[in-house]
């Protein structure tokens, strides 16, 4: 197995302690950081995402794989910055105001990072103003919002409205998701997109970013 395939395998196995030294080994062997990222860490995480999507593996496996991936990312990040390698884009995510559920949102964050996006996770119970401010200050092009309660869903509309009022609609795109959230609701509030699960959210964000 090549070292990159070994990195991917270690991510799939959720074997964090193996990923860091393997990543160092790949760097020392002179493999370009971007290649280590794409064909090692992201390749592994893609397999994890696909298996999770078809219920072959479950949340604990994904969380362990994510930890393993981050161990490799920590090694690579300074080199990617040095080489001026851009990420796929920056996404601000959070559970909306009043909503304290974050497992779904965390999963989306993991999958986005695993696909090569830079993710700013604002946590849960995030006020609309804070979401917009974080996106504008951080130069993010997408805001991802999650809600598990029907009672907190209206806060999503406020974010969309704020972006419009501040003239950011179209510059900063929005994607919404969470158990009670539907495509129809996304359309109704004027969100740019809807993701029905974490894997789908990544595909949709890629389209949002690519379609600009």
């Amino acid at each position: 197995m090549t070292v990159l395939a070994e990195i991917a395998d270690a991510v799939i196995q959720g074997d964090g302690p193996r990923v860091a030294p393997l990543t160092k080994q790949a760097i020392a062997a002179g493999i370009p950081p971007k290649e280590i990222l794409d064909d090692g860490l992201i390749a592994g995480m893609t397999v994890v995402g696909d298996r999770f999507r078809v219920h072959e593996i479950f949340l604990p496996d994904v969380l362990l794989a994510a930890k393993a991936m981050y161990a490799g990312m920590d090694e690579l990040k300074p080199l990617l910055v040095r080489d001026g390698i851009p990420s796929l884009g920056k996404v601000v995510i959070g559970s909306v105001r009043g909503d304290l559920h974050d497992i779904g949102k965390n999963l989306v964050g993991i999958m986005l990072k695993g696909a090569g996006f830079e993710v700013v996770d604002l946590g849960h119970d995030v006020a609309p103003e804070r979401m917009v401010q974080a996106a504008r200050e951080g130069g993010a092009t997408v805001i991802g919002m999650s809600a598990l309660l029907t009672t907190t869903m209206p806060a999503m509309r406020e974010v969309v409205e704020l972006l419009r009022v501040q003239g950011q609609g179209g510059t900063i795109r929005t994607i919404v998701g969470g158990a009670p959230v539907t495509e129809a609701f996304a359309r109704e509030i004027g969100a740019d997109a809807y993701g029905f699960d974490a894997g789908n959210a990544v595909d949709v964000v890629k389209t949002l970013v690519g379609g600009r």
Binding site: F58, P60, L64, R97, T150, P180
Partner: protein, 294 residues
């Protein structure tokens, strides 16, 4: 009242209660505030809800302590009030129930993920549940319902914490499953078979499922439990999945529909049939009529 365990052992069918969270939201609980915050400020609301379910025919009334473990309360800075919150929640229901219904403590997940995939140790989660259980048991509950669990390791810690000082306290333990192409699993990957075996091994007196996507799927989950265990079963389904319609939360399954499909649960010999999110006193009254008509 005869002891709860004796009635479960005798194969009797008991009716649980309906939703707590949705009832509290209707009575002014603000999104983002934990349901347990109502207990000390508005105990009268808890009495009102308990009375509605008692009058509807519940044999078992649950306390407003789903998120009453200190680890979970700490997310809202309320962990210092663990004892008062759990004690007063029990007292409110007891004032209404007297000895006309069993008062069972609700105990939900800690809200944290266990090591190694999460960041909290099993010992810390166990201590958290122990502190909650001590307060509940001291206040005089007739049983404990560990519910909405998705991680079997965590569910077992809660069951053991309840039984530690009071081995005789009835503990009913239920988990929440999703339908996958390979069968029913919790989001943490626990099968019905593994749940039944694990929860019973930890000391649960009855096992089953709560929450989920509606009564019809729950009948399938119950059937799966029955395939794997002869132990008493507890099933408390949602009235479907929540939908937002014009800013209101709507659950589609009516009391008549819910009770009609729940007939299959009775036929499977499920011991406790109740409701979870979106179920109302109307659903419980319909369940009562169905069970009494068997």
């Amino acid at each position: 009242m005869r002891p709860l365990l004796a009635r479960l052992a005798a194969g009797e069918r008991l009716v649980g209660d309906g939703a707590m969270g949705t009832m509290l939201f209707q009575r002014g609980l603000e999104p983002g505030r934990p349901p347990e915050s109502i207990t000390l400020s508005h105990p009268g609301v808890l009495e009102e809800i308990a009375r509605l379910y008692l009058d509807a025919g519940s044999d078992i009334l649950q306390t407003n302590t789903f998120g009453g473990s200190p680890l979970k309360l700490a997310l809202h800075g309320l962990d210092a009030e663990t004892e008062a919150i759990n004690r007063e929640a029990v007292r409110a229901v007891r004032r209404v129930a007297g000895d006309r219904a069993y008062v069972c403590a609700s105990c939900g997940p800690s809200g944290r993920l266990l090591e190694p995939y999460g960041d909290v140790s099993a010992a810390a989660v166990y201590e958290s549940f122990r502190r909650q259980m001590a307060a509940l048991l001291a206040a005089g509950v007739d049983g404990v319902i560990v519910e909405t669990m998705t991680d079997l390791a965590e569910a077992k810690l809660a069951v053991r914490a309840a039984k530690e000082d009071s081995p005789g306290i009835p503990v009913l333990a239920t988990m929440t499953f999703d339908a996958t192409p390979r069968g029913f699993f919790t989001i943490m990957g626990v099968s019905v078979e593994a749940a039944a075996a694990g929860l019973l091994e930890a000391g649960a007196d009855a096992v089953g499922s709560n929450c989920g996507s509606g009564i019809e799927q729950m009948v399938q989950v119950a059937r799966e439990f029955r395939r794997h265990t002869a132990a008493p079963l507890v099933i408390q389904a949602n009235a479907g999945l929540p939908r937002a319609v014009d800013g209101r939360t709507v659950y589609d399954e009516t009391p008549a529909f819910f009770a009609d499909r729940a007939r299959d649960l009775a036929e499977l010999g499920v011991s406790v049939i109740g409701g979870c999110c979106g179920t109302t006193p109307g659903h419980i009254a319909a369940l009562r009529a169905m069970v009494d008509g068997l």
